[in-house]
């Protein structure tokens, strides 16, 4: 079965032939299954935003192909409606708020879907619930009266209310306090539990690794890595390149493995590491009993 997102040999050049030409994407091939969670990492200017704008039809592929929910994004008629399928929350979405009340702001998307007002109402309430804006009367407040973090929640709710099949978040944590971050984490975790397809862009590798199982790394427009987080952990040269420090438990496990001990290295939590190490200790004790002195180097 084809994935919900299929990107094949996609390249993109901004302002081609002008003095400002930028090769933003180079031969990207990537796919995502329905229900998966993709973390998209890359330094600033690596092309992350360009890539995700291909997914909801804002940018049509110049070279290569993009297929989202079975729809070809290079078809202008299909790509125009792609925003309903793939909901893209821009970076700093609170800067794009323009309605007079929180309610109208969140209702903007559903109204553009031409839903009846009763359905709009239902979706707005549900979306506000999801982002934790449950205070009474908040719907009638002007967004300008809210704090930056609250405004971001409103903006995210505005996209959730469209109920897209894929939710794409462009650096949703940028400039947020810990309450705001937890709110975003909450939304992401709930989507993971319900197996709803999500793409999250971040320029923090650590942030992404703690959240996802699937990760793609962009570097100056090229795909530097794509696969499972566990596979990435086994590639210290990539990690070192991005100055990523492994968690201490993983450093220990890798060190043990490097010494030639048979220990599982694809683990993802400190508890698992503890279990593996005590397993090894148990083996050592048994071995010590049978063959004294053999494991003394450890």
């Amino acid at each position: 079965m084809p994935g919900i997102i299929e990107i094949n040999h996609l390249s993109h050049i901004y302002a081609e032939g002008s003095p400002y030409e930028v090769e933003a994407l180079k031969d990207i091939t990537l796919s995502l299954e329905r229900g998966e969670f993709l973390g998209l990492f890359g330094p600033n200017g690596s092309g992350k935003s360009t890539l995700i704008q291909h997914l909801n039809g804002l940018i049509r592929p110049q070279q290569g192909s993009v297929i989202v929910c079975g729809k070809d994004a290079s078809n202008s008629r299909l790509s125009r409606d792609l925003w309903k399928k793939a909901g893209l929350v821009f970076q700093y979405p609170e800067h794009q708020i323009f309605q007079i009340s929180v309610y109208d702001e969140v209702a903007y998307g559903p109204r553009n879907l031409k839903l009846p007002e009763s359905a709009v109402n239902e979706r707005v309430n549900e979306a506000l619930q999801q982002v934790g804006l449950t205070q009474e009367n908040i719907t009638q407040l002007p967004p300008a009266a809210l704090s930056g973090g609250m405004r971001r929640r409103v903006a995210v709710a505005g996209m959730l209310a469209i109920q897209p099949e894929i939710l794409i978040l462009d650096e949703p944590m940028a400039g947020m306090d810990s309450v705001g971050r937890n709110m975003i984490l909450d939304i992401i975790k709930k989507r993971q539990e319900r197996h709803e397809t999500t793409v999250m862009v971040s320029h923090s590798l650590k942030e992404i690794m703690t959240l996802t199982d699937k990760i793609a790394i962009l570097d100056s427009g090229s795909l530097a890595f794509s696969g499972k987080v566990k596979d990435l952990l086994g590639k210290p040269e990539i990690l070192a390149h991005y100055h990523f420090e492994l968690p201490e438990y993983l450093q220990i496990v890798y060190e043990i493995a490097a010494k030639g001990f048979d220990i599982k290295t694809d683990i993802s939590s400190i508890r698992e590491a503890g279990e593996e190490i005590s397993k090894l200790q148990k083996i050592r004790k048994d071995a010590d009993y049978l063959l004294p002195g053999q494991y003394n180097s450890w």
Partner: protein, 266 residues
Amino acid sequence: MTGMKLGQYVYGDSLIHRLDPRTKIICCILAVISVMASVNLYYLLCLLLLMVTAIVSARLNPKFIFKAIYQIKTLLLITLLFQAFLTPGKAVLTIGTITMTREGLALGSINILRLIILFMGSLILLMTTTPMKLSIGIECILRPLEKINIPVHNFATILSISFRFLPTLFEEASIIRNAQKSRGSQFDSPELMVKIKSYAAIVIPLFEASLSRAGDLGEAMDSRCYTSHPNQLRMNSLKMKGQDVLALVSVSVIVLAVIPVSILMK
């Protein structure tokens, strides 16, 4: 939206780039005057040739200029149609009660040519002059007005700040536009009301951002003790050279030629 960025400075090191900004501004003003004063086709073609020469010698990418002109196609088309239908003369085509005339078409084409020349002139000025030089140039030219208590310096500061933020503004506008499109704004809707309403979704956040930035900038200027005195060092950095005199003289000659040409043609 990104098309509006086309007027930006392009780094280069040609004669045109090196000319004093005052020279370029005055040449542009002279070109505007002569374009306005003449309806003679041959004379306008001469001016066009002058612009093309300037573009070639400044080594600007011609494809870029064509693209920029293509951006104002609607304006050009409207000009042509209005002239064609509203000028009395020999009928070429009749639609209902309005007729397109041959005289109108001729006049329309000439007006298009005029607009293109003006547009090219301003493009050359903007693409070969840094915003900083441009605003110093304007300040120097307007300096005499200080004698009658017009705060030229403040005006120039406002101008240079706007030059600085214009690209930022367009970039922001295009981001907001894309963000609203992602929520289903219909900027290309055939219904006018829908279209106008969706543009409000760009203009309001854009205004908000600009106002807050203006506030921040003002504070930053205050905290660095900004006072509105002309920057003498900067102004004195401008020096008219031989090439400037040459450019001014030759452009003046071409512009003054408009008088004998229009007398002869009458």
